[in-house]
Symmetry: C2
Subunit: 337 residues, 2 copies
């Protein structure tokens, strides 16, 4: 398997990206194509054994200042654009990038293209829970959605959950402002109907509405929502966790007694904050794109980038795209066919 790596994307590029990619070659047995400024990549590689590692030169870099909707088109020789074209043309099995989410999503949609019949690609990060975590889909790719998009997110999230969570029959919930069937606005009412129908056909294990307050306590493995509210939920969770750990750190430093106590529990408390760490899983798949494209967190260090490559490998091996293609007829609503 060959993983195409955007070596220039993310806060810690290219050093951490190259290091994570070399680790992936060593530990996962994948071949790696590093795309980016050759001299920068060479410098990072130093005297590393080059077996299974290829460099493809690309002179430009998509930055956070670029307009995401045009970045990959304007910067045709950027590492991101070149990497996406490579996977499109079959010169590798998956792309992993820690660059701009918006640019990667637009680029993947325009260059690699969506799976035929998929209305919108979606982002589905894995969040922690009292059970084994849950996928929240979509988390920001699509600010405005239709019920049909949400139905498709449910199917795609389900296939993905089977792969990365190892579940036979993932439970799908609809994010809503109450558990009663009638809650929410038009989008939720429409999605609830479509999800119930898919459940009646035995195609989705739909467990109904899920409130944001109970997401982390289990009950659903895949939680479906529009990209706006999904992003609000994801970012609120990240922000609240960060804020609480900042407050706890302040408490731990506030007196000699507390500092002593902190030293005693530090490791265990850190393990909790690790659960909320966006770097942990490493990457988020762009579900609905016709080839595997994995977004690594922008602040990825080498470990996180390694984890993103591991996820790309699992994504390819599980053939999630094949699952989606096989089921695409169930994922459309007749009115719009």
């Amino acid at each position: 398997m060959k993983i195409i790596v955007d070596a220039m994307g993310g806060d810690n590029a290219p050093e951490a990206i190259v290091k994570g990619a070399v680790d992936a070659r060593d530990k996962l047995g994948v071949d790696i194509t590093l795309v980016g400024r050759k001299e920068d990549i060479e410098r990072c590689l130093g005297d590393t054994d080059r077996k299974g590692i290829e460099i493809v030169d690309a002179r430009e870099v998509v930055t956070m200042d670029d307009d995401p909707s045009t970045a990959t088109r304007r910067k045709k020789d950027s590492s991101m654009t070149v990497a996406l074209n490579m996977v499109k043309n079959g010169h590798g099995d998956a792309v992993v990038s820690a660059g701009s989410t918006g640019a990667l999503l637009t680029g993947a949609t325009l260059i690699v293209k969506r799976i035929r019949g998929v209305r919108r690609a979606a982002m589905a990060p894995l969040l922690p829970s009292s059970e084994n975590g849950f996928l929240l889909i979509d988390c920001g790719a699509n600010a405005e959605c239709t019920p049909e998009y949400l139905l498709q997110f449910a199917y795609m999230g389900g296939f993905y959950a089977k792969c990365i969570m190892g579940l036979d029959n993932p439970r799908v919930g609809l994010l809503n402002i109450g558990v009663e069937d009638s809650k929410g606005g038009e989008l939720q009412h429409g999605a609830f109907k479509l999800l119930s129908e898919a459940a009646a056909r035995g195609q989705i294990n739909f467990v109904g509405n899920v409130e944001a307050s109970s997401m982390l306590f289990g009950g659903a493995d895949v939680i479906v929502t529009d990209g706006f509210s999904g992003n609000i939920a994801l970012k609120t969770a990240e922000g609240v966790a960060k804020w609480l750990f900042t407050e706890i750190k302040t408490v731990f430093k506030s007196s000699a007694k507390n500092m002593l106590a902190a030293a005693m529990v530090k490791k265990d408390v850190k393990a909790i904050s690790y659960k909320m760490d966006p770097n942990r899983v490493g990457g988020t798949a762009l579900l609905g794109i016709s080839k595997p494209v994995i977004k690594a967190h922008g602040s990825s260090n080498d470990e996180a980038f390694f984890a993103a490559i591991a996820q790309a490998k699992a994504f390819v091996e599980a053939d999630i795209i094949g699952d989606i293609v096989k089921n695409i007829d169930n994922m459309k609503i007749s009115e719009e066919a």
Copy 2:
């Protein structure tokens, strides 16, 4: 000042409600009208001094099983309905209820009515932050909103922030999925325009888009959004905080060493969880209703209910409704006038 209390609403009614109300009479110097089953209230009062306390008998109780959209109409002799009719008819200055949010909101809208010109009433709880906290408006009253509603939430939230947060010129932000002006969907684009125009007129201190991840770190005193995403943000924050403290509790109990450390920092860590406690502020005003109606948290104990009455008192004294009425012309958009 006379506060009308729905003595039968909430998980701990009537005991905690009556106790909190008696405390409010003692400490805040307000008169109290307790509405509910006379014999139950009498039993809770026991031999308490009755000075400044009046009981109004109401035989029915709105429960969480009642349909919120019809509860106050169907149960005309419920404590909630009677209390709302009393404030409407001037038999008191404010209503405080820990009963069903939906029923109270519908009841307040149908019985007490909105302020003339206000399109929708909204809920604006105070959330903690690294600064002095912030108001999130709306948090669930209106699943579907227009840009004009959000403009009105900004004005109403601003007046309320002046009162309960003591701010001269509260900073108003728009909850969005990125800080760039162009982020979000149609609703956010429309609201951003209206808020910018109001700021250009010098009427609102609009600070632009705010991401959910940074809400708790300050920068805005009032954060405006539709009721769906506001509810998702609020409930996610509550859920994540609860989940993290559950995890921390598990760590603290996991070994003798950790139990010792926990004993040393317990009080200080508890103070953090207290900040995230929905009972802390006590109540959430229903902004846009023509008389003060305060929703106390459903799980209010007597202290929380006391705090909700204190908030009702501050709301009346600050004459927030007068502020809204005086500014109603600025809060409408001409196209819809």
